[in-house]
Amino acid sequence: NAGVTQTPKFRILKIGQSMTLQCTQDMNHNYMYWYRQDPGMGLKLIYYSVGAGITDKGEVPNGYNVSRSTTEDFPLRLELAAPSQTSVYFCASSYLGQVPTGELFFGEGSRLTVL
């Protein structure tokens, strides 16, 4: 039972480069999320999706893009990486249906450094 899987776990980028963080879940959850966690801080929502084909902005969406073509996958793309995007990124999923549990299931995180 894999749960939420993120890749890569670590990445170093140069300023101006682009990359995609991959996220996939095998729990058939309808909701998926991307959060970032800066050192010593809580998690801030970047983007989220309520189902395939539907995405929406969170608190800190600037500099990022997402897509949700399938229920399982929710990649996060960084365009023109900047040092301010150095952070740990978490993908999460949640089921909201007739009997919602409300909790989020998290991936292990991806540490991104932009130099």
Binding site: G42, K44, A92, T101, G102, E103, G109
Partner: protein
Amino acid sequence: AQTVTQSQPEMSVQEAETVTLSCTYDTSESNYYLFWYKQPPSRQMILVIRQEAYKQQNATENRFSVNFQKAAKSFSLKISDSQLGDTAMYFCAFRQGAQKLVFGQGTRLTINP
């Protein structure tokens, strides 16, 4: 907008002691969920305990229990018989219905031998 406040940036106790982490939140709604997540040095986010606002009974999970005061909008976490493995960042989080999970800034808990 909902906000979650954890007023204790750091706490430290001796092994086997009981410790309580504080959390307050702000909402005008009556139905919502509250959570405590643990983040050990491995940085994995682990659900510790969950409370549905419509339930008056405080949730418990083994050594972990909450004191949920709905009128006061308070949701504290009590860890009994603390263990070295409880050392971690603890985040309080709030969720209303289908909306996003809002996190507090975290409390760094250290359990000393």
